[in-house]
């Protein structure tokens, strides 16, 4: 009867237990990769070995970290812009009544569009070296999933709850603040999680088309142009870690702010 949320150590152990098989598979893939490269003697410009890549990463770590910080700033700015505007857009959309349906459909379609393709245009409009041109692309990539998901959440309210609020003679403001917004929080985070990974892609690709001299995307593009493939792969690895870390941070915030949803995912009624 007294089911408390699992204590942090237990939860950590649970996460490790869940992650262990994935980790093992990952290690096996890296090992296989290493064996394949050494056994076949494939040229390093086609595929460098994992040891080459890790070596390059260690050598280049100061540069990569410095550049990653610039990229991360653009990503975070984009996520903030996209998250806030997506949330506000969803609130606006639910107030528009009849045209909100078609507008949402348009948003869903735009959500499927390759927003990254706008990178050269954003560079053109906002300046190649400006953080705003990168944040704008990332922001759009966060905006659409947050908008679409949050709008769903704002509508996915239990009719029982609406009836309850009506029986309490609640004003629309109360229903929004006390029922609709909390209800949509898990949906908002779902959108933000999708956006987190996408926004790293947005900024990196945007930087391929030109950016400030110190940026991870520019670093990757330059190393590739110089045929330094181990370094190129090291940059890609750093970018992947960044995407993964952001995803984890958002998921962490989510399980803290939306504990009831974690419980639902546990499969309990």
């Amino acid at each position: 009867m007294s089911i408390a949320p699992p204590a942090p150590p237990a939860r950590l152990r649970g996460a490790l237990a869940a992650g262990a098989p994935a980790l093992a598979v990952g290690a096996a893939v890296v090992l296989l990769w290493q064996l394949l490269v050494t056994a076949t003697g494939v040229q390093s410009f086609i595929l460098p070995s994992p040891t080459d890549i890790f070596g390059a990463l260690l050598d280049e770590l100061p540069t990569i970290l410095r550049d990653a910080r610039v990229t991360l700033a653009a990503v975070l700015l984009g996520m903030a812009l996209g998250g806030v505007s997506g949330l506000l857009g969803a609130l606006l959309l639910t107030r528009l009544g009849r045209i909100s349906g078609p507008l949402l459909t348009v948003a869903v379609i735009l959500n499927c569009a390759p927003v990254v393709a706008l990178a050269p245009i954003a560079n053109n409009w906002l300046g190649v070296t400006s953080i705003w041109s990168k944040a704008c692309v990332a922001g759009l990539m966060v905006f659409f999933p947050v908008l679409v998901n949050t709008t769903r959440g704002l509508r996915d309210v239990d009719t029982l709850h609406l009836e309850l609020m009506s029986a309490l003679a609640a004003r629309p403001r109360h229903t929004l603040l006390l029922v609709r917004l909390p209800r949509s929080l898990p949906f908002f985070f779902n959108g933000l999680r999708l956006g987190a990974a996408a926004s790293v892609i947005g900024v990196i690709v945007s930087e391929y088309f030109g950016g400030p001299s110190q940026a991870l995307g520019v670093y990757i593009a330059n190393q590739a142009a110089l045929s330094r493939f181990a370094e190129t792969w090291a940059g890609v690895l750093a970018a992947s870690v960044m995407g993964l870390a952001l995803f984890a941070v958002v998921a962490g915030c989510e399980s803290r702010l939306v504990p009831w949803q974690r419980h639902r995912h546990d499969g309990d009624t």
Partner: protein, 280 residues
Amino acid sequence: MTAPATTTPRGTAAMTATDDAPAISLTDVHKVFPASGGQSVAALERIGLDVRPGAFVSLLGPSGCGKSTLLRIIADLTAPTTGTVTVGGRSAREARLARDYGLVFQQAGLLDWRTVRRNVELPLQVGGVSRAERKAQAETMLDLVRLGDVADRFPWQLSGGMQQRVAIARALACRPQLLLMDEPLGALDEMTREYLQGELLRIWRDTGTTVVFVTHSVSEAVFLSTDIVIMSPRPGRITRRIEVGLPQPRTVEDRTSPAYFETVTEVRKALHAVMAEEPA
């Protein structure tokens, strides 16, 4: 009846009891639902019902006979097609806006993101009651349903029966003179159900509220009610009203008394008569 919502439950009960006005009065209420295919559904027909203050009235009838619809009309969640409804001497709408009644459904309908205490506080928060007063009032109500020790838990950490008790505490938070309940124990197992029936009677006595209780269980209606209103299948009409003569306060022993079985039999017969009847 202008007693402030903050008077003690006993006090309000005493005051309403001396008042001659019925707690609820329905006159010639009809309800027709327009259906999509052009064919409308007559859900309620010629409903006349007076509920005296402090009564425990059960609406009993086969499913689909319009019990929920009738309750929702009293709660002003849906409007009657024709007819008049007064609750505590005012129109149903005025009563709703004044938060004169508390409502409990078959599903507890608690807000997952709020602790038990904050769920009970909800009606008070909507009503603009100060934070400190809200908390004190919620704690009083949680003590009333004997859930003071789980005030800081979340709904999903409670059993179904406990959730339903929280829903009852929430319905009572504004100290309404009327409690409307739509099959509140319908989703619970037999044991929990019987326990909560006893609890409900105790709460009813302690607070002195008028209760309108929807059920399709004969034994539940007989054990709980002062009056049982029997409804016919669609279109729902009130075919009989049976006063339950069992002594108050009722105890578990009353469930096995001859008088109890007599009343159960009487109600069963009335229901069978209604079911055999051809709809008009």
